[in-house]
Amino acid sequence: MISGVRVFEAAGGVLVVGGGPAGMAAAAAALRHGARVTLLEAGYDLGGQYWRHLADERRGAHEHRLHHGWSTFQRLHEEITGHPRCDVVLGGSVWAIDRHDDAPPVVHVMVGAPDGTDREPRSYTPDRLILATGGQERTLPFPGWDLPGVFTAGAAQALAKGERVAVGQRVLVAGAGPFLLPVVSSLIRTGATVVGVAEASGRRRLARGWLTRPWELASTSSKAGELGGYLKDLVRHRVPYWTGRTVVAAHGTDRVHSVTLADLHPDWTRVEGSERVVEVDAVCVSHGFVPRTELAVAAGCQLDEQGFVITAAGQQTSVPNVYSAGELTGIGGADLALAEGEVAGTTAAGGVPRPSLIGQRKNLQNFAIRLESAHGIRPGWQTWPDPQTMLCRCEDVTVGELRDIAAKTQSRGLRSLKLTTRAGLGVCQGRTCGRNVEDLLSESLLPAGRTSYRPIATPVRLGELAATITPEREDPLP
């Protein structure tokens, strides 16, 4: 028996992990259907990546100017935090989940300042568990992408919304997908000059993805309105929007001072001779998103071939009493996360989702399919890195090293390649390079998402861990 850990018997309760749009909607819906709810969020605040905002002490009078659906956030926030049946735990990092075949999983949490030393360990045994841990950006490697001044687009967004810091003064935004647009708007509102937006997908593909069957988009008109607003910002600030073009190199010694842009063929290989150099002091890159599936994997949830958690109509996963919602189950933006969260919270609390909600989720799932067909990563990116390009930023393993060792050892085993190359063995545990490693081992036997198997979901200090397993009796060792 583990002592030193307060065990929270959330019997009859619904436990939600993640306080983004999906988790907030799930908690609110479960409360509406009569459940007791515990909401665990690792960060200092609810809102997730979409509604990342200034700290309470600095709360802006016009915070809505940086957010879409800010009133939805405020409504959900009020509904959850003011509710007598809801316990919101901020600073609660879930670091492990124990599976039990015929009992609910046990959820282990450290509560306190991020990466602290004296956090409070807790364990929960809920009746129903909803995982809404969201996603993270995927950045494809190119020469110089590890130079300071190269950020993920999400980092620029988080710093703009949460800190009012612009990552640079002359900024290039590059990658793929509509997410590049809100980043431009936030950068502009934080005082930066955006020198251009480079969308890797070409005109034809964008047209095919977005303009076919336009009637389907009518039902997601809030999305169209949101995108329209961002486009207005581009026009008003004369920010060029290039399609079929991307950043293929960043230059500098200690920090980035310029980038090379190149045109791309439809498969994302470079058009030779199209290169041009642009001076910048920051680059924001986003080639799409991957789910943060550590906890789902630990709970035993089955993933699909792209690495997303498989869910049924009520957001049930393959594990009884475990549900999932939001970016974990597919990439479709905050509105889809909200709809899925509401379905998950409703069914987990024993309710039946309204048909209109199910319809809305279906429309937004179609939007997600268009997103992938218009902007999904194409294999030609593998020609951007040269052999010296960093692949694993933590361990400084290059693309050349991975390819050489894979060729020499004929190994396709993830474990042995990790051990021989060190890719994915560093502090981030392959969170940043994992999918790129999977892609580069092209005839790989690895199913997608295989590199996200990590028994410890968030870092815990050994001291903290040791403190949770104080023996009950001080028996001398034999």
């Binding site: 690792a42 200092y44 990546q49 200034l54 700290a55 309470d56 002490e57 600095r58 709360r59 802006g60 009078a61 016009h62 915070e63 100017r65 300042a113 991020p114 990466d115 602290g116 030393t117 993270q136 950006e137 590890d146 130079l147 300071p148 001044g149 190269v150 950020f151 993920t152 999400g154 980092a155 620029a156 967004q157 988080a158 710093l159 949460g162 800190e163 009012r164 810091v165 612009a166 990552v167 640079g168 003064q169 002359r170 509102r189 005082g191 200690d254 920090r255 002091d281 943060r292 960093m390 930023r393 933590c394 361990e395 400084d396 560093g426 502090v427 981030c428 969170r431 940043t432 870092p459």
Partner: protein
């Protein structure tokens, strides 16, 4: 050139004045606003990198959401704290090199 904090007076979001907050970073004082993260303070002060990788390559903020671990610092002698995840508190002593651990005999 580089990152910069938008002065509150020019900010369309009109943040409340939360008051100044000062930490020391490798012995030098860096001032920001109450409620900022350590990474936000460092970037707001114009720094883009504060650590080196295993082979000496400079590292600072990359993902901004706690997944890449590029932004690690030592805070009040506690190593490996993600600067983008930890809010600063007045008087925090930040070191950008990990503490020297003395080998035990």
């Amino acid at each position: 050139m580089g990152p910069q904090r938008l002065p509150a007076t020019q900010d369309p979001v009109a943040p409340r004045d939360s008051g100044p907050l000062t930490i020391t970073v490798d012995g030098a004082e860096v001032t920001g606003q109450v409620g900022q993260t350590v990474a936000g303070l460092l970037l707001g002060a114009g720094r883009v990198s504060w650590r080196t990788s295993r082979t000496g390559r400079p590292r600072g903020v990359f993902c901004g959401i706690g997944v890449c671990f590029d932004c690690l610092v030592t805070i009040n002698d506690i190593p490996d704290v993600r600067a983008c995840q930890r809010r600063a508190t007045e008087g925090d002593v930040v070191s950008t090199e990990p503490p020297v651990r003395e080998a035990s005999a």
